[in-house]
Amino acid sequence: MARQRRFSGLAIHIVLALATGLTLFPMLWMLTTAFTPNEQVLSRAIRFWPEEPTLDNFRTAFARHPVGLWLWNALVVSVLVTAGKLAISVPAAFAFARMEFRGRDTLFWIIVATLTFPSIIGIVPTFIAVVKLGWYDTLTGVIVPSIPFIGFYVFYLRQSFRALPADMFEAARLDKAGMFKQMWRIALPNVKPALAAVTVLSFLGAWNIYFWSLLILESPERKTITIGIKVFSDVEASNQQWGPLMAVALLGILPVVALFFAAQRTMLEAFAPGAGGKG
């Protein structure tokens, strides 16, 4: 019996280690290719690590395309979309959790129901509106229409605000502190993990926006990294510039991977049972 247990324990490790290896391998290959001189990249030799690591691929990439601007634009979009989402969903979630008012549940469901909307449903009119407002080919045109997708955030933050004990707010109420002050001074500092989870999820989501940026951003220097890499790959893959392409890919995943490791615990635990959602 004990022996059988140990064996199945080993089998589990073998399966998981294999799955992990297969999963990490494409990223390892990206990393290796990015630091291998492009002539060697094309030599068909299998090297798991470059013999003479080089930054040449990065130099080539930056010399041929505005890669730095693509990264900067993606950062601007991600920070502002996240700030916008937090600015509208935090007060709403707080009101839904801790205030009594007529129509509260209806208004809450109006927001949460958008979780089930197909993402494409509003694309055509929103696109027209963005063009009419003169936001075509601007980051504003990407940022503003990306903010309203807050269904999950409002739902998740409301749960956190609800979990706070009522007597936490008693002293503030006796002091006649306004609701805004109660939210800012008392509620927010006590839901920091939830805020962190929401911030990270939103940042990751915004960094990876594809369709909307593809529609709105036209000039090469206005693109974000996710659509920039498409331009890069269209032009450079046929020139066999795989080293530089993987250098761009690596730069494109670096911020999110760094953020993921920094906020790992929060991230993995953000998906509590029942509160699961697709950001």
Binding site: A19, M27, I120, I123, I147, I150, T226, A272
Partner: protein, 295 residues
């Protein structure tokens, strides 16, 4: 008096920005899409004419649309079962390891591709799939097999794209299942284990019913998500080709409608896709929700 007015208004001030954004950007456009789909409006000829069902007829009669629809169906049939079953099994194995450091490493590593962008995942696999210098063909040839045209062969391309998309998406469902399995009290499966029931039987008969709310949520969101998952990777890897072999509905919407500012056409495409999604989601609720055991 004034004080009481503000305190009664306060909640609405808190929710107003969120409600306004959601109504203006998510609800209103549905109505506008519907209106557009019956018109021939574009930027070149600004005065719209009512054209009845003309756009719907054009979309439904378009062979590119048929290809997109058929492929989206194939993608869903390939991807959705994999995206549900494999994450479920991985999560079950991870739970067995408990809270060890190695388990944490597996969990983070398996989740890692999920956080990167589809287009970057697409570019990475484009390189692996390269027919001449890509790793897959080098390994195949070294092992004595014929090299494959992974993305150029119309029969193979849809599988290659699906592999990429699977790699980039399975982690999220794995985490959701992991949370659900972790929440099962051990005493519920203890008796069966002492009776000597095989693990597969315990999983199927006891644990899967216990996580059925999560399973249901995962199935519905996964089927809904396949279409959204496809655009970035397809765009970078194949551009929808060869000869429409890897195209899909979202790609079609962009290629045929938005790219050339054919808003009536795009509006009709949107409404058709939305109706399809709505129907499939409704069908899943009808068929599956009865089997879900809540709490």
């Amino acid at each position: 008096m004034a004080k009481r007015m503000t305190s009664r208004l306060a909640p609405y001030l808190f929710v107003a920005p969120a409600i306004l954004m959601v109504l203006v950007f998510l609800y209103l456009p549905i109505l506008v899409s519907l209106a557009l789909s019956f018109s021939d409006w574009n930027f070149i000829r600004p005065d719209a004419r009512f054209v009845g069902l003309e756009n719907y007829r054009a979309v439904l009669g378009d062979t590119n649309f048929h290809a997109a629809l058929r492929n989206t169906g194939i993608y869903t049939l390939i991807l959705a079962p994999l995206q549900v079953v494999i994450p479920l099994l991985l999560a079950r194995l991870l739970v067995r390891l408990g809270k060890s450091r190695l388990a944490n490493f597996y969990k983070s590593a398996l989740f890692l591709p999920t956080i990167i962008a589809f287009s970057i995942a697409g570019a990475t696999w484009l390189w692996l799939f390269n027919p001449l210098t890509g790793l897959f063909n080098i390994v195949l040839e070294a092992a004595g097999f014929a090299p494959q045209r992974w993305l150029e062969d119309p029969k193979l391309a849809i599988w290659s794209v699906s592999a990429t998309v699977f790699w980039k998406t399975f982690g999220l469902n794995m985490l959701l299942f992991l949370a659900a399995f972790t929440a099962i009290p051990p005493e519920l499966t203890e008796a069966a284990r002492i009776d000597g029931a095989r693990p597969a039987r315990i999983l199927w008969r006891i644990e899967v019913p216990l996580i059925s709310p999560t399973l249901f949520f995962v199935i519905v969101t996964t089927v809904l998500g396949v279409m959204d998952d496809l655009l970035g990777a397809v765009d970078v890897m194949t551009g929808g080709g060869p000869i429409d072999a890897t195209t899909n509905l979202l790609f079609y919407l962009w290629e045929k409608g938005l790219r050339f500012f054919q808003f009536g056409h795009a509006g009709a495409t949107t409404m058709i896709i939305a109706a399809l999604i709505g129907f499939i989601t409704w069908a899943q609720f009808k068929l599956l929700e009865r089997k879900v055991h809540y709490g």
